[in-house]
């Protein structure tokens, strides 16, 4: 049984703000096995990007954190900046969402590669480094002739491929991809996804793919974790979760995904909660069609609902609901203003 290459234990990441701490990630536990692609989905503002950056320790100064992100037996959050910097690149890689601004405009592509290779593998000669870079770039479909050009001479899609090449040139064990294709058009998106799919075969890289596009999750991921208001409400094999969602939020999320077969649009009423003072107990209860009284008062248990599937909802543990609380939660009709 493979040991997880990266495991998150009760991870909390809070940002300081004038109104109090924003609880962007509020107790997430997740594992990543070598060569496995885990999708992390959720509405925007649910804290998935924060989690992604937290894995690499790329948090702004004012961010507080607790819990553990263990990699190679060490808790990344406890590492000193120098040690963390040594990990980033050879061990942990990251692919960002907007490719246009992610390359230093004044440096040629070759300089980007030489810089990162010389930092992590100092004994590499210039020629070897160049060969290595060109080989990775060829994998991304970028011709060697353009190796010495400047970032502004590439299209968005090309730049994203360069970013991926930069992340992979050191063959990291774990790569976090934060919405890699959101800024790209559908055709380019397909190419990028094929490249990502190759990762597992060629490099046995574990990939945490952060996206709000469930289509990608179904197609490219082995397992998926559905995140809502800073917590992972459901995680399990991609196929099972996307076809038979256990958690009401997963179900609602899938129903509001537009596909060729969509007849009429469905959307989840209300808006993502304010992470400074999130709703009590189960955070989805204000918008959950199956909400019961207990959901608003007591924290739902995390229940194993299948092979390697867990979901955090009282529906799976109706027997433990204290008496009288199982009645559906009456809710005043949501005023239109509140709707917006």
């Amino acid at each position: 049984m493979k040991q997880p290459v990266l495991s998150l234990r009760d991870l909390h990441i809070w940002y300081g703000s004038e109104r109090g701490p924003v609880r962007a990630v509020d107790g997430v536990s997740l594992d990543l096995l070598p060569g496995e692609t885990v999708g992390l989905v959720g509405e925007s503002g649910c804290g998935k990007s924060t989690l992604g950056r937290g894995v690499l320790g790329l948090l702004p100064d004012g961010a507080g954190h607790a819990g553990e992100v263990s990699y190679g037996g060490r808790n990344i959050l406890a590492l000193k900046p120098k040690e963390l910097a040594q990990l980033r690149g050879p061990d942990l890689g990251m692919i960002f969402q907007e490719p246009m601004t992610r390359l230093n405009p004044l440096m040629r592509i070759s300089e980007h590669f030489e810089e990162v290779l010389r930092i992590h593998e100092p004994d590499l000669s210039k020629k070897q480094a160049k060969a290595r870079a060109l080989e990775t770039l060829r994998g991304m479909g970028i011709p060697p002739t353009r190796y010495t050009q400047y970032p502004h001479e590439f299209s968005g899609g090309m730049r994203q491929r360069i970013m991926i090449a930069l992340a992979l040139v050191l063959r990291p064990a774990v790569v976090v991809a934060d919405e890699p294709t959101t800024a790209l058009d559908v055709l380019v998106e397909a190419q990028i996804l094929r490249i990502i799919a190759d990762l597992r075969r060629n490099f046995d890289t574990a990939l945490l793919l952060i996206t709000h596009n469930l289509g990608i999750v179904a197609e490219a991921c082995d397992r998926v974790a559905v995140m809502y208001a800073g917590r992972v409400v459901e995680q399990g094999p991609a196929y099972d979760v996307t076809t038979k969602p256990a958690h009401p939020y997963s179900r609602e999320l899938l129903r509001s995904t537009i596909s060729l077969s969509t007849r009429e649009l469905h959307s989840i009423p209300g808006a993502p909660p304010d992470l400074v003072s999130p709703p009590s107990a189960c955070r989805f209860h204000p918008r959950c069609p199956n909400a019961m009284k207990v959901c608003a008062e007591q924290w739902p248990p995390t229940v194993t609902v299948g092979t390697a599937r867990r979901s955090e909802c009282w529906l799976h543990a109706t027997e433990d609901i204290p008496a009288g609380l199982e009645a559906p939660l009456e809710r005043e009709e949501l005023a239109v203003a509140e709707e917006a």
């Binding site: 493979k2 594992d31 004012g62 507080g64 009590s280 248990p301 092979t307 390697a308 867990r310």
Partner: protein
């Protein structure tokens, strides 16, 4: 620091002119920057304002504060000594001309403030409307104005002031007006450029189209809609304009082209006359006018920089203290639930 383009960081990128903010009272709009600032910015803004206010008050109440007039050379018991040591009769000593240094310094503030007010008023009255009209109407008028203003930008502003003072000194006899005009010639392009930039970006805003749609004449569009919005970045320029006005006044005074001592007390002139004293170990005649100039300009620049930091959002670094993270377990009783550590299925994964 007349390179105002550098003030707002990236040249010609005007702050986004969103719809007019809710009509908070004038006081709240003035104190807004102070409330929003924190840490170093607040220190700069507050200390800058304090110094500038002190200068303005000193200027207004000069006759009360100063022991004597700016050109008094004697009191009840006879003449002041020339280059006299600071004594209780002359707290800051006397100048080579037998004037009281303290009174000259205090009245110097009055002259400085007069020139600043005149210069800023002239520059505003010409620069802002031109910028508004040029930005809003565009066309060949805009191109011509931009060309002229850019040409004026090429002039070293002190040289322009010197030549203007040299040319006008015979026609206009008051040194203060001449210096103010000299500075205006230099500062109109600054206002023009910034106001035009923000007018251009504001012009496309929806609420402007809406105003036009309901038939507002260009004049009212500019006055009622564009103006309050565009004026936002002007205070920063105004403070630097004022700072430069004082420096130019002092520069002209040093070169002997500024205000004659018989007309008013001027720091630049007093400092120039005190250079020989300083060489002779008489420190008080040079120190106080010099200090006056430095303090006045520093005060104004501090306000300018502080304002610029507050108005320029990209610079603000949220200096919020790190929150103390309590894991859910420690959260109160309300959330009762299983231990946060999820049970890990042993046989996960294919």
């Amino acid at each position: 620091m007349t390179a105002t383009t550098s003030v707002t960081g990236t040249p010609d990128k005007a702050p986004e002119a969103g719809p007019p903010k809710r009509r908070g009272g004038l006081l709240s709009r003035i104190t807004a920057p102070y409330r929003q600032s924190h840490g170093i910015q607040r220190f700069m803004l507050v200390s800058g304002t304090a110094i500038s206010l002190a200068m303005i008050l000193m200027a207004i109440f000069a006759p009360l504060l100063a022991p004597y007039g700016f050109d008094t050379y004697q009191d009840a018991d006879g003449r002041f000594p020339t280059q006299g040591e600071p004594s209780d009769r002359n707290p800051w000593g006397t100048t080579v001309q037998g004037f009281d240094v303290m009174s000259r310094a205090i009245f110097g503030a009055r002259t400085a403030v007069e020139v600043v007010l005149l210069a800023v008023a002239f520059s505003l009255m010409i620069g802002v409307p031109l910028g508004l009209i040029s930005g809003y109407i565009g066309g060949w008028l805009d191109r011509v104005l931009v060309l002229i203003m850019d040409a004026l930008f090429a002039f070293p502003y002190l040289l322009l002031a010197i030549v203007a003072a040299f040319l006008l000194s015979n026609t206009i006899d008051s040194g203060i007006v001449v210096t103010a005009i000299a500075i205006t010639v230099v500062y109109v392009p600054q206002y023009f450029r910034v106001v035009r930039a923000s007018t251009l970006s504001a012009r496309e805003a929806t609420y402007i189209e809406a105003a036009r749609a309901i038939g507002a004449k260009p004049r009212t569009v500019i006055a009622r809609y564009l103006f309050p919005n565009v004026i936002q970045s002007v205070p920063v320029i105004a403070t630097l304009n004022a700072a430069d006005a004082i420096l130019t006044l002092a520069g002209l005074g040093f070169l002997g082209l500024g205000i004659q001592p018989s007309e008013a007390a001027e720091w630049g002139y007093d400092l120039q006359r005190a250079i020989a004293d300083a060489g002779a170990g008489i420190w008080w005649t040079a120190l106080f006018p010099g200090l006056g100039i430095v303090l006045a300009v520093t005060g104004l620049t501090l306000v300018g920089e502080g304002l610029n930091d507050v108005l320029n959002p990209t610079l603000r670094r949220r200096r919020v203290d790190r929150p103390v993270v309590q894991s859910r377990r420690a959260v109160g009783s309300s959330a009762v639930g299983p231990a946060s550590a999820p049970e890990v299925e042993e046989d996960a994964g294919q």
